[in-house]
């Protein structure tokens, strides 16, 4: 029953998102082109990114055993932001320059954080990883501040609007690239579901219960951060989804990652598709940053869930 509700909401969200928009809904060549080339890829991209962020958040919360972990915690948003700001300050041109520089910045952050995480030897210490993420994020933010202060590029303001996140630039290109890319890390995380269940008990108990702790940590960390880097590249940093959707699903579905992960994917996708539909229609032609809507719409839902299910 729960799956039916979740699946139906996802379908409803996608249909709504395709049906509404500033250009309205009509069967004429112009509107159909808008629906085909803008709305459908936009809804799909929002769904895939929302799902990916929710899966990443679920996996990272289990990995670092911290309920406050979210996809951007590990220095990723800072790295991506630094990439974008640097690209704009250097006047690098080209249609793919923002996504590409965000992705490269995020990759750089991942590598540094990972190196710091294993610095204590062969073991990936998740506490050090967490701390390194925060520190690298702070360093990247400081570098962004320095570039902002010293660069004469007036367009830098727009870098921050871009980083706030949104699907304004969604296209079939970005959907297909993201879908092809995301399939592998999402699958890898799903295959680690059983180990993640054990990891939530603590690393030692997980070891005794037969989980390959080191391998799982590296695999999940690598997959989660590469997935987030791609999400940042196509849509900026969208908060809330990756943090709260996993908790909402745990309240309703329990803690087993085999169900938690797919349910989180569906709910994250649904939430982000709805949020994006609201973001672009409520104040049309002006768009709200989608992260604003996810939080505005998501927090009340989450509060309801907590009141209904937590005992």
């Amino acid at each position: 029953m729960k799956w039916v509700v979740l699946g139906a909401s996802a379908a409803l969200a996608l249909l709504t998102a395709v049906a509404v928009g500033p250009a309205g809904f009509a069967v004429d060549p112009v509107t159909l082109a808008i629906i085909r080339d803008l709305r459908v890829p936009r809804a799909l991209l929002a769904f895939l990114v929302g799902g990916s962020l929710a899966v990443t958040g679920s996996a990272l919360q289990a990995l670092v055993r911290n309920p406050l972990a979210d996809p951007y915690l590990l220095g990723l948003s800072g790295g991506a932001g630094l990439g974008v700001v640097a690209a704009i300050a250097l006047h690098l041109g080209g249609p793919w320059i923002l996504p590409a520089s965000a992705f490269l910045g995020a990759l750089a952050a991942i590598v540094v954080v990972y190196r710091l995480g294993v610095v204590t030897g062969a073991v990936l210490d998740t506490r050090v990883l967490l701390f390194s993420g925060v520190v690298v994020g702070a360093f990247a933010a400081a570098m962004m501040g320095a570039i902002m202060a010293l660069s004469p590029a007036a367009e830098l303001r727009n870098a921050f609007v871009w980083l706030l996140g949104g699907f304004g630039s969604a296209s079939w290109q970005s959907v297909s690239v993201f879908a092809a890319y995301a399939a592998l890390p999402v699958t890898l995380i799903y295959l680690a579901a059983r180990s993640l269940d054990l990891l939530t008990l603590g690393e030692e108990p997980a070891q005794y219960l037969g989980a390959e702790v080191e391998r799982t940590k590296r695999l999940v960390y690598g997959a989660a951060s590469l997935l987030t880097a791609a999400a940042v590249a196509v849509s900026g940093t969208i908060g809330f989804v990756g943090l709260v959707v996993p908790h909402a699903i745990r309240l309703v579905w329990g803690h087993l990652h085999r169900t938690l992960l797919p349910a989180a994917f569906l709910l994250g996708g649904t939430l982000l598709v709805f949020a994006d539909a609201l973001a672009r229609t409520v104040f049309a032609p002006v768009e709200l940053p989608v992260g604003v809507v996810t939080a505005l719409a998501g927090v009340p839902v989450f509060v309801l869930l907590v009141r209904r299910w937590s005992r």
Binding site: P22, V161, G168, P285, V286, E287
Partner: protein, 315 residues
């Protein structure tokens, strides 16, 4: 004693003008009366016995106006964004204009600091008040602000006659340009009013709304901003919203054709598909100034060329 206010009733701060004026009379009555008391665009009294001799100008538009009215030689500090006229570049920069570095400002030993009228500057203004340095906040967002600001700066710098005459010329030209537009004279060469979307940024798409002087430039150039129902100066929007408004032309601030025009999702916008893109560049498109009519002429010419291209295609 007289209270000089530079905003006609009915706009912005002027809505509370009678109240403000009453308050000013009440408080100035107790102080030593100066010849003229100037009220700036934030409603503050400018505590200065004109003319100002050492001015730090913290916005590119006021720097440009000061030079235009012949007070350039009194400007001893500017922001790093002040790029016109070229002589302004010889003045030492004090960095940013919004939330300025007061130490750098004070190092220029100003007797008057001119701010852009913004809440972001309140703290700096209060600090200067404490230090006994006069400041004036000038709002320069729309073309109507240009003559008002010029008159105020003229009075503060002792260049009143020149400033007043430039201001009067500008205001007159603005009036007649608007009257001509209403009468259809200015747009006679355009067989109908063309819709323009001013795209300030592509990812996320940002367009210029009615709050910006750029919308006025577009109108004076004989066209219409298709986003003139958006009250903001600029707003984030979506490609679909631009496609739905179906502008005849996309106006882009910058040099040459933007990269986004090649992207497939932008081809849903008719003007992009037809390559009806007009790019304009120059500081006269960055702020309202006495040069705004040059900007209008440049824009009108660019729109005319693009329309001719469109006609050529249609035949």
């Amino acid at each position: 004693m007289s209270v000089l206010a530079f905003r006609p009733p009915g706009r912005g701060t002027a809505a509370c003008f009678p109240l403000l004026a009453a308050g000013i009379v009440a408080c100035t009555a107790r102080e030593a009366p100066l010849a003229d008391r100037l009220q700036d665009d934030l409603g503050h009294i400018v505590a200065l016995e004109p003319p100002a001799r050492r001015i730090v100008s913290l916005s590119p538009s006021t720097t440009e106006l000061l030079f235009a009215i012949g007070a350039g030689s009194s400007v001893v500090g500017r922001t790093r964004w002040c790029d016109f006229p070229p002589e302004a570049l010889a003045v030492p920069s004090v960095g940013d204009g919004l939330g300025p570095n007061l130490e750098l400002v004070l190092s220029r030993t100003p007797d008057l600091v001119i701010f852009y009228a913004s809440a972001a500057n309140q703290a700096a203004i209060a600090r200067l008040d404490d230090l006994g340095i006069a400041s004036a906040s000038v709002r320069l967002d729309r073309l109507d602000d240009v003559p008002l600001a010029a008159r105020m700066l003229g009075r503060l710098t002792g260049t009143g006659p020149r400033a007043d005459s430039l201001a009067a010329q500008f205001a007159e030209r603005l009036d007649s340009a608007r009257a001509a537009r209403r009468g259809g004279v200015g747009s006679r060469s355009l067989d109908r009013v063309r819709g323009v979307a001013v795209v300030a940024w592509d990812n996320p798409p940002m367009v210029i709304g009615a709050g910006s002087f750029l919308t006025e430039l577009v109108e004076l150039a004989g066209a219409r901003n298709v986003f003139d129902d958006v009250a903001l100066a600029s707003a984030q929007t979506g490609i679909e919203a631009i496609a739905a408004r179906d502008p005849d032309v996309l106006l882009i601030l910058g040099d040459g054709l933007p990269a986004f025009a090649q992207r497939p999702e932008w081809q849903t916008v008719g003007a992009v598909r037809r390559r009806d893109l007009v790019a304009v560049q120059g500081s006269e498109f960055e702020r309202p100034t006495f040069r705004s009519f040059e900007a209008v002429l440049t824009l009108r010419e660019a729109l005319r060329r693009s329309e001719a291209r469109a006609r050529g295609r249609a035949q």
